[in-house]
Amino acid sequence: MSMLEAATAVRELTLAQAIREALAEEMRRDPRVFILGEDIAEAGHPFKVLSGLVEEFGAKRVLDTPISEAGFTGIAVGAAMTGMRPVIDIMFGDFIGLTMDQMVNQAAKIHYMSGGKWKAPLVMRTTLGATRRSAAQHSQSLHAWFCHIPGLKVVMPSTPYDAKGLLKSAIRDENPVVFFEDKMMYRLKGPVPDEEYTIPLGVADIKREGSDVTIIATSSMVQVALGAATLLEESGISAEVVDPRTLWPLDEKTLIESAKKTSRVIVVDEGYGRYGVTAELASVIQEGAFFDLEAPVKRMGAMHVPIPFSPPLEDVTVPTEQTVADAARALCGAS
């Protein structure tokens, strides 16, 4: 969002409110849109993201499901193929394992396998992010799994503004889209204009301009990167923070241009590094900006361990403002 937009948009919403508003607007616009998930009707979702929707749209469009992730994901695929616009809610990103066959072998492939005759326009909303002391089965950031699959799109908003505009585009998209929300960020506030808008999938956003180092950050890590940029400013290092916003489609051009401009790049993503998102992004940078780089691309992500419960253990598994800033200083030869 430009500075001008930010200045005129006085209204502040939380990320959760922005998501709810996007859903409500799309449900008003298109009667085919409906939501499936656990404890989403009267309860409004355990994170209260969906409160008020059943009151406005009724129990035929906001459906409480049994705890049957594979089943209701499959129903969404079939409904999407036959004229509906399902949005499914997978409470914790850790539960996507249960949905994998439906997403990977069914939703992702039907368009291609049918020679373009069927399509599955559905949205799966789910969460990522650690540090909630929720242990190994409620803390993972597994978005890379979906990025690996042709036929799926993957969206990773980092602000209320982006979340709203991207979710509206995801719902209107003709393909299966997986939309990851950082559960630690639901209460994050940010400007969201009153007027309707959408943000196209596949357009990165420069969250902060800088000249010495580029920090490419996704979802939960964008705020961390911005915090790190502030710390770096104190050390006289000017950091640019680039948010791809969607991992597929990927706006390679904006990432490469920033890399060429600063010549030093850190990629930060809360998923696992090995065979993960940071590996892909680092590869995009080195292929596109190799001769402009002063240093190898630095990758930062979750430590390669199941997320532990105990706070002093969990805290060292994810990048922080401090560790990102330290890495940037080292990259700039200033440590």
Binding site: A43, P46, P66, H304
Partner: protein
């Protein structure tokens, strides 16, 4: 360092001894969970806490019918199962607070207590996630000829998971020694089970040829009797069974779930607490049978309370793991 494990040995306990023991175990779970509630609300316990208060007779009645080496799998609401199977209060609290001496070195926390010494294959934070594990343990017991039985505890919410029916089918085909214990506390998270569960729960077992029974989960003696029958059936090689235990959780889905009026009434909660409390029911029965008097029960209460208090102090005083332990235990 650890308090003595008091393994369940049904064969060695009979009559009054057994009943008093079951009463004590239920009380221990109740007081343990009250402390968890307290620690959590005082911000001394990180993460999530799903309390078992109200459901004590289920875990105790079932586990009392098991040998120490019999297996259990547990759930996100698992403290009661672990304690009933013989877990140490000290090490449980230590794990809940993320301390190094805890059952899982602080790596698991409330939803993942595991303890091979008491046959506890692990609590599980994925609904239905342990149904395969329990059935696989029963497979091992059968193949290795150990005579062990596996009990799979799960909430009625797990009836929504397809894997349950896949493993139940195989358990029936292969006559595996597993008892599926469905704890129906009437609510998934914030949704009444009738809104998510079609038809008759008890009819699901017989569809696979798995004998199924229902029991009043507030009556520990009734739970024990039927569990004993089903466990012995499994041990004798006659295959799996399904036990539907009707019960109620007094507190919220987790400690943070305090405003519950939108999904259940205060009156309903009050009614269960005053009329259907498993500990009161058992206490009254013990007194009415002359197996204990009020003074004896009070004394027991004091003893259990002291054990719980000791556990809390032990856990609070215990050190956290050092951060360099974080990448240990990833691989065997």
């Amino acid at each position: 360092m650890t308090t003595a494990v008091n393994p369940s040995k049904p064969d060695s306990r009979t009559g009054a001894d057994l009943y008093l023991h079951m009463y004590r175990r239920m009380l221990m779970i109740r007081l343990f969970e009250e402390q968890v509630n307290d620690l959590y609300t005082r911000a001394l316990m990180p993460g999530l806490a799903h309390l078992y208060i109200g459901e004590e007779a289920v875990a105790v009645g079932v586990c009392e019918a098991l040998r120490t080496d019999d297996y259990i799998t547990s759930t996100h609401r698992g403290h009661g199962h672990c304690l009933a199977k013989g877990a140490s209060v000290d090490l449980m609290f230590a794990e809940l607070l993320g301390k190094e001496v805890g059952y899982c070195k602080g790596k698991g926390g409330s939803m993942h207590i595991a303890d091979p010494a008491t046959g506890n294959l692990g609590a599980n934070a994925i609904v239905g996630g342990s149904t395969g594990i329990a059935t696989g343990a029963a497979f091992s017991a059968q193949r290795l000829g150990t005579g062990q039985v596996a009990v799979c505890f799960f909430g009625e919410g797990a009836l929504g998971q397809g894997v349950l029916y896949e493993v139940m089918n195989m358990a029936a085909l292969w006559k595996l020694p597993v008892v599926y214990v469905c704890e129906n506390n009437m609510y998934n998270e914030y949704t009444h089970f009738s809104e998510t569960t079609a038809g008759d729960i008890l009819a699901r077992g017989p569809a696979f040829g798995v004998p199924s029974e229902a029991v009043d989960g507030q009556d520990v003696r009734a739970v024990y009797d039927v569990a004993k029958k089903l466990v012995e059936r499994a041990r004798a090689g006659d295959g799996p069974s399904l036990l539907l235990v009707n019960t109620y959780r007094y507190h919220g889905h987790h400690v943070g779930d305090v405003s519950r009026e939108y999904y259940r009434s205060k009156q309903e909660e009050q009614q269960w607490k005053t009329e259907r409390d498993p500990i009161r029911i058992m206490g009254d029965w013990l007194v009415s049978q002359g197996l204990a008097d009020r003074a004896a029960l009070d004394k027991l209460h004091g003893e259990v309370k002291a054990e719980i208090d000791h556990g809390v102090q032990f856990a609070l005083a215990a050190p956290y793991p050092s951060p360099d332990k974080v990448d240990q235990d990833v691989y065997a």
